[in-house]
Symmetry: C2
Subunit: 224 residues, 2 copies
């Protein structure tokens, strides 16, 4: 059985859990707080980041959420998440990287720093200016999603793909931390309602991070 | 013919140029300075980053260096750069991401900011503390390369791969900017000499960025 080292609000672990869920790959969760820099974890992954996926019986350790998603795309035929022609696959990967790099750095990471790490680790008060900036940029990201969904059924094209999983994973963490104002983004809220109702997404939405509570709409498919 | 939007010291463009060179994919270079935020370029790539690869005749635009490398790995059989079993391919992708994320953020990006952008754009003096930190971390990265090369012929395993191209691309930019002290890293210098002597690498080493000159050893295969 695969063991997934993760913590509930890690967006990269969430992306991977969505992919494993869609593909029906069984796994058990191992709680890891990367900010604790546990020696055994850093020995396993020199980058010190979640997710790490281990299959002890077969001696396999997989590191880096992008590399792990590609691994399961190659080894599990069910529910292709990087589908289509080479050009369509490039578009899926472009968008997944966009969400993993930009949406994460500009929105999710500052929210995690201010609302989770400061609460759990340093016990400082959150910096309201950083939070305001993150929420402003989040709005621009939702505009871009609206634009994509004006032209396409799913974010990267006509079918569900890793781009949708990555966007939903990052947005779900930002939403948990109160960083998303969904008003005025009809296309994106419709899409996110559909994502939230997928069986792969339900277990994530049911989880809670100790000490930090999500807003009331967080796990509601219809936002109300 | 593919048109590659890039600038000489963009490490992600260099990685891609090495891959195109190894695979024998013809392309012409189009000079782009992403910090100028040229409207037509941002319209092409909302991320505003190089490299972007365009094939006007076929109406294809490829964005994100990782996605582009995967595209050519899928479409050009010659010289596989993500070779081996699924687990070996995961290791190639883990290391390529490590160099693209960590080596870039901790070493190459600060060097580019201090020694290129400040020179070309803001005309401020470089921050010597930032430069010292980047060079210190560069040394730790070379230690990790030494460790990998103690156990393997190439960085990700027994054969040349995208991991080698990514590492060499980032190190070549850091080296151009005077940020690498190669002393005491025998395994890595031996490996880098071999990389430098590859036909795919020679055109990159011959290029110069206006105003900024590399150290004397920069394009010498034997470092002297």
């Amino acid at each position: 059985m695969w063991q997934l080292y993760q913590f509930p609000l890690c967006p990269f672990s969430r992306k991977l859990r969505l992919l494993l869920g869609e593909k029906g790959v069984g796994h058990e969760l191992v709680r890891e707080s990367p900010w604790m820099k546990r020696d055994e974890f850093v020995d396993m992954n020199p980058a010190g980041q979640t997710p790490v996926l281990v299959e002890p019986a077969r001696g396999i350790t997989l590191i880096d959420s992008g590399a792990i998603c590609e691994y399961f795309e190659e080894t599990v035929e069910k529910s292709p998440m990087i589908p289509g022609s080479a050009a369509q696959r490039a578009e899926v990967r472009r968008l997944a990287a966009w969400f993993d790099d930009r949406l994460y750095a500009e929105v999710v990471e500052p929210l995690l720093n201010e609302r989770m790490k400061k609460r759990l680790v340093t016990r400082d008060a959150p910096d309201t200016r950083v939070l305001r900036d993150a929420m402003r940029v989040a709005n621009a990201h939702l505009d871009y999603l609206d634009y994509l969904l004006d032209h396409r059924r799913w974010l990267a094209g006509p079918v569900l793909s890793l781009a949708d999983l990555a966007a939903a994973a990052h947005l779900s963490v930002a939403d948990y931390l109160g960083g998303i104002d969904w008003r005025g983004h009809k296309q994106t809220t419709d899409w996110y309602s559909v994502m939230k109702s997928r069986p792969s997404f339900r277990p994530l939405l049911a989880e809670r991070m100790e000490v930090i509570a999500p807003p009331a709409h967080y796990d509601k498919v219809d936002f109300f």
